[in-house]
């Protein structure tokens, strides 16, 4: 492009007004490459003596017979992605066990339903079971009351359940691989895995707890090969999802809010892709939006937190709402002229969405729709905005945005209200594919039947 401008002879690009260095991209790289041969580009972060790949420790511990590893195998149909440091991370795409999010299910119910709906659409096999607990990490970040032993035990307890869950369906252990919905859980679990791999003492303490719970594998702790966030699944599945789209997004200016606990915590594990924002931004969500055909617009506070802050949203809401509106919403609207802001974490979407209303107390009215990447993906693939994506739970207005997508929200709303009447009358229609079953708790269906269901799948 610079060449085109140069030929025009006007001031443009790094044009003819000065003599260009005339280095080809290769030469430019070579100009500094020698330094990188001896001192890596981000030596403090990536120098091997400073940062190790914890997976190396994991494999060694497995070899030493210290731990068992829940491996990602061919049945999980993994797709390889590259992380910030150029490391490989395998993302399982099938036979997934949904590790749900407290805040999503409680505050943004359309968030998990959209994800499950997309998986149904793609014929992905999964298990959506109730036998799981909160990761308790909000407690940890919000008040510091949580301790590492309990957090690590909860982590392994839930992942053990994921590992064992298929047995209830008569399937082998490890059949389902855990997929984490919440960014907080995702960051926390990665941190706990790192601690567990480093600390013999921690492993010893956690082993005692898990032994009491009967959640050891051959007397060993079970560590997952990778901790995988749902946004990573969406990322590697973005092309198959895009093929199912029925709505044109090309007029949509979308901004992305990447979650701190998804991409700043344990940064070496985060997916970056040279084809997504030149590799300068975390690839998840942005990559999906690009594949769906939307314009992804950068904005100057891209890097900033949403304002959630864990303890701030509880004890310092003035800060949370001020930060969310002034540093994120306002910038996205005024600078990026965004139609929508897309997130991929529970707390961020809650904060950015629910805090907008009170902005009118200070004449800060922006009305920027906020939703999760999977909610938008589901809408674009034809999901019902009320019955499925459940946008009516969102505090910021979304109707104008639906109109921009060509969705008749008034009609959809009428359908939804009619549906609610049906529900009130006791004619409950489940939105989920009955083939996807759970293994315990309310709604639990006997294994024999469920097994039949899975055979059909």
């Amino acid at each position: 492009m610079a060449d085109d401008k140069r030929s025009e002879g006007a001031f443009a690009g790094f044009g003819p007004e000065w003599r260009p260095a005339n280095l080809s991209p290769d030469e430019a790289r070579a100009a500094t490459a020698w330094v990188e041969t001896r001192i890596d580009r981000r030596s403090l972060l990536t120098g091997r003596d400073q940062v190790e790949d914890v997976r190396d420790i994991m494999w060694q511990l497995e070899k030493d017979g210290e731990i068992a590893v829940h491996r990602i195998t061919e049945q999980h149909e993994p797709v390889t992605a590259r992380t910030l440091y150029g490391w490989k991370k395998r993302i399982p795409t099938n036979h997934l066990w949904h590790h749900k999010s407290c805040g999503q299910c409680g505050n943004i119910p359309g968030y998990p339903t959209s994800l499950l709906w997309l998986m149904n659409k793609l014929e992905t096999r999964y298990l959506d079971e109730t036998d799981q607990t909160s990761c308790t990490a909000w407690n940890y970040h919000g008040s510091g009351i949580g301790n590492v032993v309990s957090l690590a035990a909860v982590f392994l307890r839930n992942f053990h359940q994921a590992y064992m869950s298929a047995k209830a369906q008569g399937l082998p252990e490890g059949y389902y691989y855990p997929l984490v919905h919440c960014g907080t859980s995702f960051g926390n679990y990665k941190e706990m895995r790192c601690f567990l791999l480093h600390s013999t003492k921690l492993r010893e303490q956690v082993r005692k707890i898990l032994a009491k719970l009967g959640r050891l594998v051959d007397g060993k702790l079970l560590i997952p090969e990778e901790v995988v966030h749902y946004s990573e699944w969406l990322h590697v599945m973005r092309e198959p999802i895009a093929e199912k789209r029925v709505i044109d997004l090309s007029r949509v200016r979308a901004t992305v809010h990447p979650a701190c606990h998804v991409y700043k915590m344990v940064p070496e594990d985060v997916i970056y892709d040279d084809t997504v924002m030149d590799g300068n931004r975390v690839a998840v969500s942005s990559g999906l939006l690009q594949s769906l055909g939307a314009q992804v617009i950068d904005y100057s506070t891209w890097y900033d937190c949403c304002g959630f802050g864990f303890r701030h949203i509880i004890g310092e809401r003035e800060f949370t709402r001020s930060f969310a509106i002034d540093r994120k919403i306002k910038v996205a609207v005024e600078e990026a002229r965004a139609d929508v802001m897309i997130g991929h974490d529970t707390g961020c979407i809650t904060t950015l969405d629910k805090n907008q209303w009170i902005g009118r107390a200070a004449d800060k009215v922006y009305e920027l729709p906020i939703m999760a990447d999977c909610q938008l993906a589901a809408l674009v693939c034809g999901a019902h905005p009320y019955k499925l994506a459940q946008l009516h739970w969102h505090a910021s207005p979304f109707e104008g945005f639906l109109e921009k997508l060509g969705i008749d929200w008034q009609k959809a709303k009428a359908e939804f209200e009619a549906y609610l009447k049906e529900v009130a009358a006791g004619r409950i229609e489940t939105l989920y594919d009955a083939r996807r079953s759970i293994t315990s708790g309310p709604g639990f269906v006997r294994p024999a039947i469920a097994a039949k269901g899975t055979e059909r799948a």
């Binding site: 001031f11 007004e17 100009a31 020698w34 001896r38 030596s43 403090l44």
Partner: protein, 349 residues
């Protein structure tokens, strides 16, 4: 007596070749570029520090007296492929195929400008109005003046960010590039002269306008030209779609700043020459820990490399000013001459 090889035709090499010829020594000056003059000419510097002379005049004069000298054979667009032998009896093969018999060799191979692409957070390569000091030098020396590359307008507010590619462990550049503070002050004054309505802000960590540059550049730029210096390391350069936005912390006010600018200039540092690994292999000389050509000793033999008979001068040894490069070129010429003449005398005795 065998000729002496001077590799590199920048200020140090030009100075060394001329000094050798002045002493009656046959010299072969080899440069990989198709023109002599080194960085000041090839990059297109404007007015030099501290003389205020245009680079093409000052360095051009040095080039002319070398090109016209019967004792100096100039080989342009040429590199050295191999180099072997002992002091007083070296053999070199050039990329042209020529074989040379040499008494000694001087490495005056200079440096490479830091490539700002390696600091993506400061917007170079992303926003057209983020440029380098080298580019501003070119804007000035081309006579077309300082303009925003995006649309050719005259900037009304310019930020110069110091230490781009210097003093930065993140990217493996742990050295001070020595000249950028002074060069930036010089450029800032130039901009204020050309565009009186344009305010120039320099964001610094420390100001290192050493020696006499203190009052003539640092003070002068503030007192006469009203250039403003702000102690802040910039976090990020972004854009609001209209102007560039410079984000950082004003350390004296302890408040974050996000200030709009029309143009941001990176005061780029001096990297070791990208050819240094090759040069090190061809000439069998050691590099110091940052990648510059290592000196044998600063005190007893300041122009010597790790290999007897091979000498070094100028920015090949680390960030250096033009004046000092010229002085070092002469010093290296003296050392090389002493080496070949001493050997000739010994042989005669």
């Amino acid at each position: 007596m065998k000729p002496i090889l001077v590799l590199g035709g920048g200020p140090a090499g030009l100075s060394a070749a001329y000094a050798l010829a002045a002493m009656g020594q046959r010299t072969i000056l080899v440069d990989k570029a198709d023109r002599l003059g080194g960085a000041p000419i090839l990059t297109g510097y404007a007015k030099l520090v501290p003389s205020g002379e245009w680079a093409k005049d000052a360095i051009g004069g040095m080039v002319r007296r070398v090109e016209g000298n019967p004792l100096i054979e100039v080989q342009r667009a040429t590199t050295v492929r191999s180099f072997s032998g002992e002091p007083g009896d070296f053999r070199a093969r050039l990329s042209t195929g020529a074989e040379l018999q040499l008494g000694a060799a001087l490495l005056c191979t200079g440096f490479t400008h830091f490539d700002s692409i390696n600091k993506p957070e400061w917007g170079f390569g992303t926003y057209p109005d983020v440029v380098t000091t080298a580019q501003v030098e070119q804007m000035i020396s081309s006579g077309k003046g300082v303009r925003c590359p995006s649309d050719g307008r005259e900037p009304e507010r310019v930020a110069i960010l110091l230490c781009v590619g210097s003093r930065d462990r993140q990217i493996g550049r742990e050295w001070c590039s020595k000249i950028c503070c002074t060069v930036s002050a010089n450029i800032a004054m130039e901009i204020r002269d050309q565009l009186p309505k344009c305010n120039v802000y320099i964001y610094y960590m420390d100001i290192r306008t050493f020696g006499l540059y203190e009052d003539t550049y640092y003070w002068e730029s503030q007192e006469k030209h009203k250039v403003k210096y702000i102690k802040a390391r910039i976090a990020e350069v972004t854009s609001d779609g209209k102007r560039l936005i410079v984000k950082g912390e004003d350390t004296l006010v302890k408040r974050p700043i996000t200030i709009p600018f029309d143009m941001v200039v990176h005061a780029i540092g001096m990297d070791p020459n990208l050819d240094n690994l090759t040069l090190s292999a061809v000439f069998d000389v050691k590099l110091e820990r940052h990648g510059h050509i290592a000196k044998a000793s600063s005190y007893t033999s300041m122009s010597h490399t790790s290999r007897p008979g091979v000498f070094v001068a100028g920015a090949a040894t680390g960030p250096e000013t033009i004046d000092d490069s010229i002085a070092q070129g002469q010093a290296a010429a003296m050392a090389a001459l002493a080496s070949v003449q001493g050997r000739a005398r010994e042989a005669a005795e």
